[in-house]
Symmetry: none
Amino acid sequence: MKLQPRKEPRQARSRAMVDTILDAMSRVLVERGYAKTNTNLVAEAAGISVGSLYQYFPNKDALIFALRERHVTRMLSLFEGVVDQMTDAGSLTSDFEALIDALVAAHLLEPELNRILEEEFPAFNMPVSNQIRERFFDSIRGVLKRHRAAISAPDIDVATFVVQRMLKALINAVVLTGPGGLSPGSIRPEIVPAVIGYLTAQRLN
Amino acid sequence: MKLQPRKEPRQARSRAMVDTILDAMSRVLVERGYAKTNTNLVAEAAGISVGSLYQYFPNKDALIFALRERHVTRMLSLFEGVVDQMTDAGSLTSDFEALIDALVAAHLLEPELNRILEEEFPAFNMPVSNQIRERFFDSIRGVLKRHRAAISAPDIDVATFVVQRMLKALINAVVLTGPGGLSPGSIRPEIVPAVIGYLTAQRLN
Amino acid sequence: MKLQPRKEPRQARSRAMVDTILDAMSRVLVERGYAKTNTNLVAEAAGISVGSLYQYFPNKDALIFALRERHVTRMLSLFEGVVDQMTDAGSLTSDFEALIDALVAAHLLEPELNRILEEEFPAFNMPVSNQIRERFFDSIRGVLKRHRAAISAPDIDVATFVVQRMLKALINAVVLTGPGGLSPGSIRPEIVPAVIGYLTAQRLN
Amino acid sequence: MKLQPRKEPRQARSRAMVDTILDAMSRVLVERGYAKTNTNLVAEAAGISVGSLYQYFPNKDALIFALRERHVTRMLSLFEGVVDQMTDAGSLTSDFEALIDALVAAHLLEPELNRILEEEFPAFNMPVSNQIRERFFDSIRGVLKRHRAAISAPDIDVATFVVQRMLKALINAVVLTGPGGLSPGSIRPEIVPAVIGYLTAQRLN
DNA sequence: AATGAATGAGCCTTCATTCAT
DNA sequence: AATGAATGAAGGCTCATTCAT
């Protein structure tokens, strides 16, 4: 009676493997930088053989892509969690304060990996999948829609896009420590005014 | 009277060569992308030998660096030209309108190269030289200072930094044609409100 | 009963590979000379890919170094074999006769390789490992010590050093076929008198 | 009246140039080692252009060859000077003492260059010209002939060859400071006994 | 004769990917 | 499915030599 299943169903094993590999990739990337990262190294760091690595990823690009996806998805989860908890009670400002807190927190999950993914990558080639991008977009749009009345921007989609870009740029400024420049701490408090300022700006036409 | 020198003095020849090489680099980069660009190809595209290329650039990185510098310097020229022509008569809004026009124009000088330099590069490693960065910064700060009274942001340096980041992010959104997303044309008119909105936002504390 | 392991245990395979590569290196070196020897050629001669070669040797220098070590170690083996078989019965002269026979034989194992290693190499940079050098030294010193009474040289270590140098120089003269010069055969019988003459020379002070 | 000749006759200029170039080669060789020496560097060190260098030497090998020749010729001069001053009064021992002194002094003329020429060169390929070799040989043979009666070696030519090799080996041991090993100073006094011991060794057959 | 920029063959080395075991 | 040795195309860079000026 072969009732006992494999300890783990195949799919699960595969997923665990994929995660192990991505963890290794992340570690190597952080430790050595993109230029000195290669598949053999990643396999070794994952405790498997290169051959096995290629069982789970068809090529190096797929590996990079998957890592980006996973990283961004994790950030998205945190972000959506915050958005989902918003009630109708919140003001535009308080909502964005929460949202920015969440975004900063998300970026600080794996800050080194995040830095490399943002700065050191020849990889916008393969942009984060549209699905993820859209969910970020939709979350922000949801907030804007809820406060439609308070917003002077004529087109919500356009405003969402602009806010998204502003947030990304400014939060990276806070999170990514550059060699010179102003302290991240002093930028942080400016993000809310920037967003709110834009959304509520007086428009002539 | 053999007074006439060689058609071009030595220094000039060297500069012409450097420019020829950078032009070739730019072309190859645009045509094939960073990953498929190599020094032999660049030399060929420049109509010279690899050896010659290495007479002018010590290594591949120096080539990339120089190309970035040249590109950014050209953008800076255009930008500073606009800023220099500003009179005290301009309003905060009109000044930023001019400034954004200039920036967009600057980014459209070599849009494809610009895209690759912005997106495809493992190159924050070698950031644009601080001097250039600072001159961008100073230009913007100059404008802000002139309109200090109209600005609610408490710290001009911080505000400059934020504006700079916003401008970069939003102008890239306008200039860099992504596969999906909103049309750049619709983003463009939002930049002024975004900047002005931030600068004049009501601040509680 | 699948008790039989792979035909060759891993370590053995690796060693075989190293030897195959060194054999190829040796062959190429002999056929083309050092200046025209390169890693790709060696790999080809070894019937493997360059990549494989670099799996066993980190760089070209390591390859050369290893070849020298192997060659000298083999010579050392032959030499030590002879020394070990010496009994107390031998005279100073008969001992050195045997010793010189062994050295000549050792040099004639791979005479062409030996010539290149001795003459064509920018390689004192990476001297034969001290351990090997010392074992040669110690063997000779052992013989001298046994015959201490018959030796006029005041310091055994110094005498060992001198004898070692003399032997190397004279045996190379015998073994290395130069373009012109005396026939090696006529030099050979002079080595024993040279060594014995030195060791037993009358010293005034 | 174009009476004034070029300041220097052509031949002389050429010789001066050749010497300038060889001096530069020597300097570069000593400062950077063979592996890091190249023709462009030598030309620069000589204060001329590569093109000019190639006016005087057809290729790199010729340059190396010429430098060796010059160096060895200079050593030969010093050596022959000593030999020429020998009178019939000298004993075998005193003659060799003088001769060894001269050789050591010769090797210490440009010790660093000498070291590189001896140790770091893939250059026995192009052995010192036979003429020079022969003059060394002849000088030594001359001394041996003068003392023929005191010498037990049956064949003067063979003995000359052996002595020559011994001298070269032992003097290099004195002059070339290796990383480990006995102090050169302690080897020096052994050279005379070695040579004399060989020449006067008792021979059985 | 001098110059030195230009040449380009050639070398060492890396690494994504394959495949026999 | 796993292994990891093997592959080999590709790339950065050097340097002896040439040649237009």
